[in-house]
Structures are given as C-alpha cells and as structure tokens.
C-alpha cells in the first residue's frame, strides 16, 4: 500500500513539475513576442507549413465526414422531423463541433507530432544547443513561430473544413437521400447563427495553440536518441488530443450555456 501511495505521489509530482515547466515556457514565449521581427521568416515558413501543408488532408477528411454526418442525420431523423431539418443539423453540427474537433485531432497527429519530432531531432543532434550558443533563444526561434502559425492558420483550416463538409453533406443529401435543394437550403437558413461560427473559430484557435505548444514543448524536452524522438512525438499526440477533448467540454459549456 505504501508503495502504491509512493508511486501515485511520484507521478503527481512529475505531473505538476511538467505543468509548471509548460507554464514557464508559455511565459517565455509571451516574453519573446517583443523580438517577433527577428523571427518573421520563421513565422511565415511555419504558417505555410501548417496552413497550406495541411489543406489537402483537411479537405479530404472534411469531405467524407460531411457526407457521413448528412447520412447519419437523415437516417436518425427521417421518421421524426421534416427533410429540411437535415440541412440545419448538418450546418450546426459541422460548424460547432465536428470541424473544430476533427481538425484539432487530425492536426494533433499531423502538425503536433511533426513539430515534436522535428524539434526533438534538433535537440538530440545539438542544433538547439547551437542556437543557444549563437545567442538565439530556442523558445523564440522555434516555439513561438509554430504557436503563432497554429493560432492563426488552424481557424482558417477549420473554415475550409466547415465549407467542404457542408458542401459534401449538401451533395449527399440531394443526390442520395432525395432531399431537395430548396429544403436543404431552407434548413441551413432556418436557425443559422453567426455566433456559431464565432464559437467554432474560438475553439479552433484554442486547439491550434494547444497542439502546436504541446508539440513544441515535447520536442524541446526530448532526451536520448531516436527512441526519445519517437516518445516525444507520441506524447505530443496523446497530450494534445486529450487536452483538445477536455477543453472542448469546457469551451462548449462556457460559450453555449
């Protein structure tokens, strides 16, 4: 029993140390914003990598998820609600929940793990030490541009994702489920609220910040060789995915109720 408590205590200590360390990095990041001009090329490069680089994948998964949502809604609601409600439900579920969460989770894998393994490799091959020795702050040069790219480009990707999902959901409803164009559009307009888009953008901005920050943090904490890099990438995906799902609950609660 004593051993069990000791183990729980040790794990809790590690957890709180990590949280404190993450907070320290975050403060340092904010502090480095004053040198943003120095890191401008990195910011542009990362915006391109996160935004343009992720666009094909985002469009692909959004297309299929939009169609799947339309089929599921039509199937679930066909006996209870009129056809035009499918349009309403597809739009709201895509904008409020599906696109932000789905893109957040997918990009935790693509972008977050990519950042963790890139920075992890730089750490174990002394490139991070080389930056420090050249009087360049690794947090400012490596972490800050990636976080800024996540904060600004992931909401844009979510807008693309929502658009593609709604269009494919619309196409599927009209072609496969005999819902008329007029009915679908009527449903879309029925209880569309600009506030929903705002909620989706707030969520995606937060998830963008979380997944890039966690990826960069895990990368800079890497120790050892190839195994350490692999562990960092795995931790980045696990931690950021968990955080995205947990934060989704709190954000939904705060923004919708």
């Amino acid at each position: 029993m004593t051993r069990l408590f000791a183990s729980i205590g040790a794990n809790l200590a590690v957890f709180f140390i990590m949280v404190f360390d993450m907070f320290r990095y975050l403060v340092q990041c904010v502090h480095e914003i004053r040198h943003l001009y120095l890191y401008r090329h990195q910011v542009l490069l990362q915006c391109y990598a996160v935004g343009v680089g992720s666009l094909p994948l985002v469009c692909l998964i959004s297309a299929f998820s939009g169609m799947a949502v339309a089929i599921q809604m039509a199937y679930q609601m066909e006996s209870y609600v009129p056809d035009y409600m499918v349009g309403s439900i597809v739009v709201r579920s895509v904008v409020l929940v599906l696109s932000p969460i789905l893109i957040g989770l997918v990009l935790a894998g693509r972008v977050g793990a990519g950042i963790a393994s890139e920075l992890g490799t730089m750490k174990v091959s002394e490139q991070v030490d080389a930056l420090t020795s050249m009087a360049v702050d690794p947090v400012g040069y490596l972490m800050l541009p990636r976080i800024l790219a996540g904060l600004t480009k992931i909401p844009v990707l979510v807008i693309f994702s929502s658009f593609v999902s709604i269009m494919t959901g619309f196409g599927m409803s009209v072609i496969k489920m005999d819902i008329t164009v007029t009915d679908f559009i009527k449903g879309m307009k029925l209880d569309f609220m600009v506030y929903d888009i705002f909620v989706g953008l707030i969520k995606s901005t937060v998830y963008g910040g979380v997944l890039t920050f966690v990826g960069a943090y895990m990368g800079l904490q890497t120790q050892g060789g190839a195994q350490g890099v692999g562990q960092s990438a795995t931790s980045a995906v696990v931690v950021s995915s968990a955080l995205i799902l947990i934060l989704d609950y709190f954000l939904t609660l705060a923004l919708l109720y």
């Binding site: 490799t121 730089m122 490139q127 080389a130 020795s133 050249m134 009087a135």
Partner: protein, 248 residues
C-alpha cells in the same frame, strides 16, 4: 616572460545530473590568446565543462567566470553579448539541417547584424574559403561528408569573428587524414584570428599538435594541467595511464 591573462576560470565547480556527479570540484584556468586542450576519458565531463562556458549548463556550486562575468548570475543581456563573442564547434557539427551551408554560415550575421545581404554573402564566401569549402554554399548538410560538415560548422563558428572558439571533440568520427586537416584549421584560425581556443578531445595526436596548455579531467576534477611538455616530463601517473589508454 609575462603570464597570459586568464580568460575563463572554473573555481571548485560541482555539477550533477540526477544522482550522477559529473564535475566534482573542478578548478581550471584557461589563458587568453592560447589553445587550451581539455583531455579526459569519455563521460568525464569535458563537454559539460564547455557548456558551462556558454551558459547552457549552470554549476550547482562553485564559480565559472568568463571574461569577468560570473556565469551563475550573469545578466541576460550580458550573456547574449558574451555568446556573440563565442564560436562553438559541436561534436555532431550541429548544422541546421533545414538550411543550406550558406544559410548556416550566415545565420548569426542575419540574426544579430544589420549587414546587407551582399556583405553577408561576401562574409560567407570568405569563411567557407577559409575552411576550403567554397562552392558548397547551396548544398544541404546531409549532402556533405563528416569532415566537410565539421569544416562547415567551423565556418559558421568563425562567421561572427568571435574572440573565443570552443571545439567539442573536433576530430571524433573522422579518419586520420581529415583529423589532421581539422587540426590544421584549428592552428590556422588561432594564428590568423588571435583568439582564445578551448579544445575538448581525447585525441592525443591532435593535442600534441595544437595545445599551448593541457588539462586532464578525471573523476570530475582537473587532475593535472599545464604545458604538455612539462606534464609529460613530470611522469604524472594519471596522465601516463590516460595516454596508455588505461585510465577509467
């Protein structure tokens, strides 16, 4: 003969990582304008010693002083200024693998100076020429051999015209010919730039060629330091064991 001024000093420095004690009361003086070689078996704390000089590691206790700055409480602004004066050649070369050779060498100049691009290009050319790598500007580090990577890293280290160059295992992983070439460059840069150099190595032929002063690290301490001739003639037992490959 006038004694050279001390550029870097370690006074009773202790450093541990978890339960592993690496430096255990290190006392070491590095004179300015000379090449000091820190010798020692693998894992004795040579690279950690170098990292204290650039402030990547902090001593648990004791005092590390670099040109008058106490590294345990140096102001951030002074630390940045100090780092700009130090060029480091890392054991693994540590070239930025997402950049070309030219971008690597130009990195410090672009980050810390307002030099126009034409001047930066000229400076890069001069630095690469100094290490016989002219013509490799557009190549990626992965396209270079081990020796060429070391030389490219050396060109990056000298690009900001440093007052100090720290070499961490400059010949590790290189064949004897390339090791000789790296040794030539260490001497050439020392003569041309009039700098303070610290070479961390366990390569005795390199040590014999380049060193003005030698220190042997063992069990976290400098067990012997001085001119190589004096140490060898003193028949120091620990040093002899190291040279014979029986220390550790």
């Amino acid at each position: 003969m006038e004694h050279p001024k001390t550029a870097i000093s370690f006074e009773n420095v202790y450093k541990s990582f978890g339960t592993q004690a690496v430096l255990q009361g290190l006392d070491l003086e590095i004179p300015s304008g000379q090449i000091t070689t820190i010798l020692g078996p693998s894992g004795c704390g040579k690279s950690v010693t170098l990292k204290h000089v650039i402030g990547i590691e902090q001593a648990d206790s004791g005092r590390v002083e670099v040109v008058g700055h106490d590294m345990s409480n140096v102001r951030q602004r002074d630390l940045i200024t100090l780092r700009k004066r130090i060029g480091v050649l890392f054991q693994s070369s540590a070239l930025f693998d997402s950049m070309t050779v030219k971008e690597n060498v130009a990195f410090g100049l672009r980050m810390h100076t307002k030099m126009p691009e034409a001047e930066i290009a000229e400076r890069v050319h001069v630095c690469l020429d100094a290490v016989k790598l002219a013509g490799t500007e557009e190549r990626m580090p992965v396209e270079l051999s081990g020796g060429m990577r070391k030389r490219a890293a050396l060109a990056r280290a000298i690009a900001m015209s440093p007052d100090f160059i720290l070499y961490d295992e400059p010949t590790t992983g290189l064949d004897p010919n390339t090791s000789n070439v790296v040794g030539d460059y260490i001497l050439k840069l020392q003569n041309e730039l009039d700098i303070t150099s610290v070479v961390v190595t366990h390569d005795m032929p390199l040590t014999r060629r380049v060193s003005d002063k030698v220190a042997l690290l063992f069990n976290g301490k400098a067990v012997v330091q001085g001119r190589l001739d004096d140490i060898e003639s003193s028949q120091n037992e620990v040093f002899q064991l190291f040279v014979d490959g029986r220390l550790g």
